[in-house]
Amino acid sequence: MYRYDEFDEAFVRQRVAEFREQVARRLSGELTEEQFKPLRLMNGLYLQLHAYMLRVAIPYGTLSSKQMRRLAWIARTYDRGYGHFTTRQNIQFNWPKLGDIPDILDSLAEVEMHAIQTSGNCIRNVTADAYAGVAADEIDDPRVYAEVLRQWSTLHPEFSFLPRKFKIAITGSPHDRAAIKVHDIGLRMLRDDSGAPGFEVVVGGGQGRTPVVGETVRDFLPSEHLISYMEAILRVYNLLGRRDNLYKSRIKILVKQVGIEEFRRLVEAEWASIREGWELDLPESEVERIGAYFAPPTYEPVELIDLGFAQAQRQDPAFAQWVRCNSFPHKETGYTIAVISLKPEGGIPGDATAEQMEVVADLADHYSLGEIRVAHEQNLVLPNVKKADLYAVWQALVKAELATPNLGLITDMIACPGLDYCNLANARSIPVAQRIGERFKDRDLVEELGPITLNISGCINACGHHHVANIGLLGVDKKGQEFYQITLGGRADEHAAIGEIVGPAFSYDQVVDAVETIVTTYRGQRQSGEVFLDTYQRIGIQPFKEKLYGTR
């Protein structure tokens, strides 16, 4: 993991001191709410339905056990004993008081954390593949460049008042687990013919009220030019992006408006000027300095065939199911990536109590080299678990109610906080997720259904990623009543697609039945070996429409 040196340490402390003064100026009345709002947002502080909400950055989803314990302590000390992990790999606290925020930030700074740029019209916390550095299918470790981007974008003087927020995601695997095609900039690491590292640069993706799958602006960007190329894209956007209409201000609208060809020309021209003018290339020494923090740990050599692990699975079918569902191949023999689902049936997607956070921190210390990841699907990951230890890990997780075997399955839902917490929401998300979890609590059935992504957003801002779910639910308000529009066929991976609206929205009471009808239709039509998307792509949306609305 990256570790702060004196520079990072001093910088984050100075940022907290600055914000402490801004909070004092707000409380004294020197700053109006209108003036304070953009300042607090740049430190991740929202005013939500019932209270303030603080969004703490977890850069590219990587946490140490020490940091996780501190999050638990903050949840207990300043909040109501829990936190909410988000689709941007961050954590949100739902009940802090304004006057406590500077102290919370100081406490975070002690463990090398902050809330810088987790909101506002700036470059947001960079997200990455949650399995970065350990996945068996990885080409390159994206964390080094994610950290470079974090540093480059932090308090960037030119790009802190962009037309709108700006999200960058990066993956080092051909299979995209970071949803890079629905980000303002998506970076996919690859190597050229000579083996030199670089990036495919995707631009203009996004969700919200205008969902767009990003387009490739550059097939291969040598990695040393990452910063200058990012500056070129951001400068073109900062100068030309629309500022007259909030809903048309994201870079995706600019790209659509001028077309990808023209956008590419603008960026390449700006990039050429940057490169002939002043040096912005990444110094190799800096990449090496940062890269050293991400050097692979020393893995203990393990027995190639671990009989105990196989035996535990034979004897304990619940463990076997969890292993089938919640582990992912590690690049190191004898190790595995263990995913801790934060989606218990009937639970709140992404929420963890302080006690659960501490259990995960302890498990990370004992079994995962002290490291934890946050996945954008709102789950936690122990990235370095020996297969031989997995049974012990699972038993501890069962005790903490953290062993739901549903990774990638229908109950592994992404849900935004919705109308229960959020000021922008039109409808509730969490209770719908809870009811769907209750409906699909037969774990064998859920596994048998195979991979299905089901995501729920409480409004068109799409924080719940409903556009890119196989089954997407969007909450809408109809005369003060909650309704849910359903989309089918979306996906967030390397074949990213926006779901298609199946028909008129369903009421709060009807929507769970509608989801079941969709699942039943799929089961009825499914051919051997198919997953939901295969069946959907083969039969199309019509059979689902007929079952949901009858033949007309």
Binding site: L27, H50, Y52, P431
Partner: protein
């Protein structure tokens, strides 16, 4: 006109508050002053404006209520949830606006 209540979030902790008689801000909707005529409405608006300038509350607005024996009741889902707390079925919601002893106060 429909019966209306003035609400806002408290600057200090963001809590949902309702404008009660004599310029007090209460966490309990039942204590809110209900405006049923234009004169009261304007008085509530002026009072809210004063509270904004005095760093007491943020973002005040009026919303429609139904009048019942126990007092004003919110109609829209948003105000129902603001009044009652999150409906997510855990013990987080016990510390809702109708609880005098709000945690953290």
């Amino acid at each position: 006109m429909t019966a209306q209540v003035m609400t806002a979030n408290r600057l200090d902790d963001g809590a949902v508050v309702y404008l009660a008689p004599e310029g007090a801000w209460s966490e309990r909707l039942v204590e809110a002053e209900v405006a049923e005529d234009a004169a009261t409405l304007h008085r509530l608006e002026a009072e809210a404006e004063r509270a904004v300038r005095g760093q007491l509350v943020v973002g005040p607005y009026l919303f429609t209520v139904a009048l019942e024996a126990e007092g004003p009741r919110p109609i829209g889902q948003r105000e129902i949830i603001r009044a009652a707390g999150p409906s997510v079925g855990t013990d987080f919601k016990v510390v809702a606006a109708n609880d005098n002893d709000r945690a953290g106060n």
